[in-house]
Point group: C2
Chain length 363, copies 2
């Protein structure tokens, strides 16, 4: 088995901790001193060995990935010249795996998710591998625990039962709260965490059938991979690869044709999507339901008369609050954020405003 870890995205909802130059997956948002990428590596290596683990990342983060994962062979760091969305990244990895190990089963997991029950995760992956061997494009869907509006959903053929393979009927976009509540009640919907397991030959055939505009340049690039032509071919063809999400390009149409299966997963998954989650999952209690998440940067937090405050002192400073409730305070070396907890998901919008105002060196 081969495992691919797409390490992309800047995690703007975790700004100013997560930056374009130092994105979420490189940060120790795990409750230990390991970064999300390192924790992902630690979790996956027992499933496939480092020799069969590939990380796909952007040129800006290749050095960070290489330094954080010294046990990962250099040839297993696939560096995209620039981001072309998930279909390009996963297709490149699938084609390189297919070239190195034809017909292999390949799984793909994001670099910046947290999983607490590693044994259950491994068990679920093994069930998904069974489905992949049978020729399905498999996903691992997350059993939802709340009517979350921040994720897409997988509509299953039957009520979801832990570790039981079933058909995915449809990929659903991020829903409204009303729709999400209906999904949760129906019991037939899983969160789409972009976890995929398939045979590379099956995936590449699906890709070629549905998106030849992606498949053709990827095939030519893969042909040159591990040869002296690699860089030249990548430089010539990568700009032509369409930017499209793998769900949209391959998984949704394949689901319509009955070729997508899923295994419901229930292993303490979180995408550490915003600071509210960081506080809840990784923070320590500082009184009155307030939480402080201290990174290795040496900062400290003092919360006085504050309920539901989340403090992230990541800038070697003392951060104190007085008389404020339900507020997120993040301190870093060059930027401070104060945000109402109900607006934690809107930090992306704030970063857009900062971009418009020319604060590019703080993004």
């Amino acid at each position: 088995m081969h495992v691919v870890v797409p390490a992309g995205g800047s995690g703007t909802r975790l700004w100013p901790l997560s930056r374009a130059a130092n994105p979420k997956f490189l940060h120790p948002l795990t409750g230990t001193d390991r970064s999300l990428l390192q924790a992902t590596f630690d979790r996956l290596v027992p499933l496939c060995s480092a020799r069969n683990l590939l990380v796909v990342t952007g040129s800006a983060h290749a050095a960070g990935v290489a330094r954080q994962l010294p046990a990962l062979p250099e040839r297993n760091i696939l560096v995209e010249p620039f981001a072309r969305d998930s279909c390009a990244a996963i297709a490149l990895a699938a084609a390189v795996v297919q070239r190195r190990s034809p017909g292999a089963v390949m799984a793909s997991f994001a670099a910046d998710h947290l999983i607490t029950d590693t044994a259950e995760f491994a068990h679920t992956v093994r069930r998904a591998v069974d489905g992949a061997r049978d020729g399905y494009l498999m996903t691992i869907g997350i059993t939802p625990t709340r009517p979350e509006t921040g994720y897409g959903y997988l509509q299953c053929s039957e009520p979801a039962t832990r570790s039981v393979i079933q058909r995915v009927l449809e990929f659903k976009e991020k829903p409204s709260l009303e729709v999400a509540t209906r999904y949760l009640a129906a019991g037939k919907y899983l969160w789409n965490a972009s976890m995929f397991v398939w045979r590379t030959d099956v995936f590449l055939a699906e890709l070629a059938a549905r998106r030849p505009d992606v498949a053709a340049p990827i095939a030519e690039i893969a042909e040159a991979w591990d040869t002296e032509l690699q860089e030249e071919t990548l430089a010539r063809l990568w700009p032509q690869v369409p930017k499209v999400a793998v769900e949209y390009a391959v998984m949704e149409p394949a689901a319509e044709d009955g070729r997508v299966g899923t295994v419901p997963g229930d292993f303490g998954w979180s995408d550490i999507g915003d600071f509210s989650t960081v506080g809840d999952l990784l923070g320590v209690d500082v009184g009155e339901g307030s939480r402080a998440f201290t990174t290795g940067a040496g900062g400290s937090a003092v919360v006085v008369d504050g309920k539901g405050v989340v403090v992230v002192p990541a800038g070697n400073r003392l951060v104190s609050t007085l008389g404020v409730n339900d507020v997120i305070v993040v301190d870093t070396e060059d930027a401070v954020l104060v945000c109402d907890r109900s607006r934690a998901q809107d930090i992306k919008r704030l970063t857009e405003i900062l971009r418009e105002r020319g604060e590019l060196d703080r993004l």
Copy 2:
């Protein structure tokens, strides 16, 4: 005429901007690049010349005062070995003035207050000097503009009229809101801003009569001042000087005996007492009634969807808020504060909590 500027107090309600080692009066909280001390100096020098202006300060701040006021003669910086409250500071200055210029009129004004109408201030001082020449212990009371509970009040004999000298019947402690509202409606009460004008011989005679325990060591210290015995005498006697406020020791009992007069002042006075005031008086509008006060440290502020926010970026960082209202955010090199505006007066309490927690290097 001689002028004394007691430059003491750490301004804890302006923490973390104001620190024990770098107190409020040394900060440019004036709307220009001049510090409060420098603005005070600029305002007073035309009244008395630098030769007749004395600054009384603590040993920790003597260097700061000397550097900020290069035009002030060195012998006019009176350095207290440690703070002994306002009676000791003012009595020392009065005794030194009396030694250098017997029978002079001396005025005393805090180093950390802001005054916008300098001409009116000078006019009011001249009226107070008239009263001082007649042998009264004069104060300049501030015509109140709101039922402030953070100041003491002067009860006058008649309704206060701008620049008209009258008797002070009583010094009132900081009142409750109910009492302060009554004071405001009565029209016979002024804010006590600790502005005094008197003949040094009159003041020292009052002090000797009422507090010989203060007057005696101060007289002996003054006798040695400007001689080779100054330091030795100060070291021996200063620890014996009782800690007491000049209002309590001298002014209140003198008022009971009809010896205190006042001139109501109305010259745009503020003690820049908390960050709410800093935002209102010195900040620039950043939208929706939010204000940013930028010091020379190069920080910047971005407020998104926030009403009544006060941001003080004093740490060369970008400070941004999203979706929070009526909050004070102060960023400095080593500490960040987030405080509800209604709690701006309680920051002193926060500093006490920090002291208990051993954060001494941040105070």
